[in-house]
Symmetry: D2
Subunit: 350 residues, 4 copies
């Protein structure tokens, strides 16, 4: 049996903390600082988000990704409002119903098309508006990059925002892997802005933990008119960290010197390498090269468990025997080699 | 004007991370680990909680204190159930209504008596049981040490548990400062057990962040029959950390070699020193020496703002001009001296 | 043993339907009508509410009193908002936590003073505003007439509204027995307006079922800016009746020819008669003559159960052995005589 | 222009109250009765439900259909539980998100197949069980007859119940039109039992208002172990009527002498007549004869508004220009003739 990779391909949140980020945490550990965000690190991190988006934005640090999404949506929903999202979205299938429980709101999930939704799927519910028996479509939530490793172009997001806004709705972008998307779409602040603030997105969940941080995400209000109650709602949905400085310090480390892009670029690159290494293994059915940092191979059912026991990864579509292999900021070429050898080994053994 | 203390007296969550804890985080940063708690650090931390309580318990790491309380209560409440707590409890006044929002349940707040509640206050609502127009008292939540820096004796908690259980209710203990309480009541695992598992407490929110950790609390089910749905509910209330190992590693650092007790003992001791240093300053009205790590002086109204501007602290009872001064694991005698000098200075200046 | 009264003194919702109201239901039973309120009866009833309040108001029929309160509050609360009310208010103790469950919001209950709250009790929470750890006081809810059978004067309500509005809060009036209050305060539309629209109340739960209707309450938005989402929220909180015409027809019967006042006047008068008949019975401790249609005698504990077994009534303060005796639109002098004889009989038998 | 029908085809809840039911209401109007269900009519109605289902069941009267569904589901859901239902189900599309708001739970909506779901669609979510990131499938909710006027056979429901129970789930049947279904499946109590209690259904929302009642539905617990908290939860979700007797009296009128079946039989028969009268009108695209009391014709878009202006009806699938024409207990052959003439008239005019 081949030796398993040192860094496996289960998830980018299985990776550790980037040393620069860890060092930033240690450097923030200097005596007392006011809790709950009134500290110099948070002030600095907030300023970096302003710079990143090229305008004053309102930024709120939170504990985790589900919490970020819930806070964002809680402040965006109108009364009796509903969220339109894809059926494969994280909020719909991977948050154990947190949105429904904490928001008390319906998610209207539409069939994803390669992980994405299109404006027509928002229009479908336009006739709900003004009808007292129906929830009122209020927010569109999209994920960039998507849960299927795909990307919206800036134009596609702009079209979604146009449709949503025309119908009186707001647009939330779940950016758990926004860095990977930014790299894939140009790798600059301008690229980021093209599919967020320039496209008309109202609120972004800006991910940290999947890109080299230990913990922490940021809810960034590009439309600042939506943030007026966010400080209260953040605490009410259990997402106000006490020692916020340790999250803010991590974001500073990521955003200064573009470490967030470097980390994501590396992960994306490694996914390309992985794709090349496994795409011709018999039984591994794959789409073309990945857009970001994950592959979704359909595998022979008998291959899955032995391979997973050897080096852990997640199912993605159990009904089609599709799994997910994901790279991270710390994946090495040696990891890819080792993993590809393992896939070949267990495949040959079938 | 005197020099402000290096470590101020605002809150123990203004303190930094204890170096041993920070070191443990760094040592946990070794490559990949399965997210969401299926890792060696969490296994070890869970084991340490079993040892600490002297029996197998079910432990769930969460992000923060409000989240810990909400998760605990969510799994303890019966249908149409309500939580009996004091009017000064953190869940009642300092969580922005998170319990009501996330639980959809009423808190029945009874007037605190020196920060505490007594069994008779539970009995008062016994007549609600079985009446369809009233919420059904289902959980008693107490805080140890309390929000007013006081302590329940083990016997007092046992009496509360007896009453609660006799009425079909469960008992939750908010232990945001459980270490400070444990030190004050004997400073041993036996002391901890005397007022928790031996007294009949069902579920404990076991605090970390106020005692030298960076982030993380543990919900500990002493009554394991209550934990069957906790893994789902934890995620549903947005309290499932992804990289749990970094929380678990901190708890390991605290619990091994009794650092949790040493930290709390130091904080408690410093509060004694602070009490002695300020108790005779004119205008500072104080109760006797503190039980744990905080003082609640009533101050001349005109003293409060100048003093706070000089070295920050929180109001505690605005209607009686009472504030809170709190020590932490890193408070030094020099901090106490500096602060006492400042109080005297601003008091003299009135 | 004396013969029990034909109409007992348990509650005005134990009474039947007034014959004029029942007749109105029968007359509304003419073929098909659009469901959900787009019918001629509802149009007419809405117009009568406009006339009653002397201005255009927005009226929404709902099923019941708890539902009316929940709908009103749901549309009035701001994010992370809380409701200030008395500890004896119906929403606080007699709705099984429906507000907390359906609103996800905290009720801040203040000690009632003879069933009422005073502006100072609202001011107490002014310091919560703008503090992220506290719920944001958002609505004051008062009951007129109160759960203890007392009345706010128009001036008292105006003072509450002034304080609330100054603090950015809205005022809800639970008018389950608003007719009894109106009669007691003058018995005219002008009297009603004096303590509602003229005093600054924003939204009223206007009761029907306790005043001769079979079912149905109306949520009346005096501040119409608050009603924009009410049609959706009404359905969402399960309070949209399908065959609304049968509720509206009842309100028409009540409001036309002032039957609502006649019914309440009779009930109030009967309570006066009852007070005179029982106030000198040994052991029956009573306050002075009732303001509206209920008495709250403190009784010898041993008297309560035999008397209740003979003719049912409710406990009101179990800790002080206080019960409630309530008259209704159909109470007769003979009922009062019979009941007073019974009280005397069981009292003598102690 | 032809004369519009006296009784239109908008909905069975546009119909009035059956005279026998109205008479029962009037006869129940005899003085005082204990509110909230402790009255002789409710005792009798509960007994009739026991007889109807052939075993002791636990019955709770509620205000309306949405409320019935919400109460049923609230008492059936496990922690972090979700409801599997069709995308066309009333709970999913016609209750303005009441289930999500009041339950805080996710509805997993699967594509309906002719209005129905099949056991395989439940199995699809079996892999969610035990996974902390997913809601826990907990209840299957089906509607009989369905929102598309179709029927499950008793065997189909039994198969659903078998699958659900095998997966640890409960089965709720939304019986807003259970009478129409019962008639179509045999028209006897035995027929009713065959697709409910005998098939393994756990809880039924038993409709009244669409079958000749004025208001009121019953939540019937066939699995009585699920009803222990129903009395509290009913009030908590705002669905406890005060004067329950007037609902119970209506159910007595329906259930005694099988008026519920006679009413539904008439409505079903009229739908057959309507189908024959309109099925050959050019442009009216219809499936075969209706199973119960509604037709879902696809119409030329230009026909819809003129026809609706003449005699009101609802859209059913706006994207396919499908509308719903529904008969009721009071529809007459003359109504059908008039309506068919109108359809023909407006169709010819295109």
């Amino acid at each position: 049996m081949p030796t398993a990779p040192v860094h496996r391909f289960a998830s980018d949140n299985n990776a550790g903390v980037h040393p620069v980020v860890l060092d930033a945490i240690a450097r923030a550990n200097t005596g007392h600082a006011t809790a709950y965000g009134d500290d110099e690190w948070t002030l600095r991190a907030n300023g970096l988000f302003d710079e990143l988006f090229g305008r004053p934005v309102d930024t709120f640090m939170v504990w985790g990704g589900t919490g970020a999404n819930v806070l964002a949506l809680a402040t965006m929903l109108s009364p009796a409002g509903a969220v339109v999202c894809t059926d494969s979205s994280h909020i719909n299938v991977d948050e154990t119903g947190a949105p429904e429980r904490v928001l008390g709101a319906k998610l209207i999930d539409v069939p994803h098309r390669n992980g994405k939704l299109v404006p027509e799927q928002i229009e479908e519910f336009a006739h709900f508006r003004g009808v007292m028996h129906h929830v009122q479509p209020s927010v569109v939530s999209i994920t960039q990059s998507t849960e299927w490793g795909t990307l919206y172009s800036a134009d596609e997001i702009a079209a979604i925002c146009d449709t949503a806004h025309r119908l009186g709705m707001k647009v939330h972008l779940d950016g758990a892997r926004i860095a990977n998307a930014t790299v894939a779409l140009g790798g600059t602040a301008a690229a980021l802005r093209s599919f967020t603030v320039d496209a008309g997105v109202d609120v972004v969940s800006f991910g940290g933990a999947k890109n080299g941080m230990m913990h922490g995400e940021a809810v960034v209000y590009l439309d600042r008119s939506l943030s007026s109650s966010a400080q209260y709602v953040r605490k009410q949905v259990t997402q106000l960290p006490s020692k916020v400085r340790y999250i803010s310090a991590q974001f500073i480390a990521l955003l200064e010197d573009d470490l967030w892009l470097a980390n994501a670029r590396h992960a994306n690159d490694m996914a390309q390498v992985l794709h090349r290494a496994v795409c011709d293994i018999p039984g591994v059915r794959l789409a073309g090269p990945p857009a970001v940092n994950s592959l979704y191979p359909a595998l022979p059912p008998a291959l899955i468990e032995p391979l997973r026991d050897w080096s852990f990864f997640y199912d993605w579509d159990v009904h089609h025997h599709q799994v997910r292999w994901m790279t991270a900021w710390d994946t090495t070429p040696a990891d890819v080699d080792a993993f590809a050898q393992g896939v070949r080994h267990f495949s040959d053994a079938l």
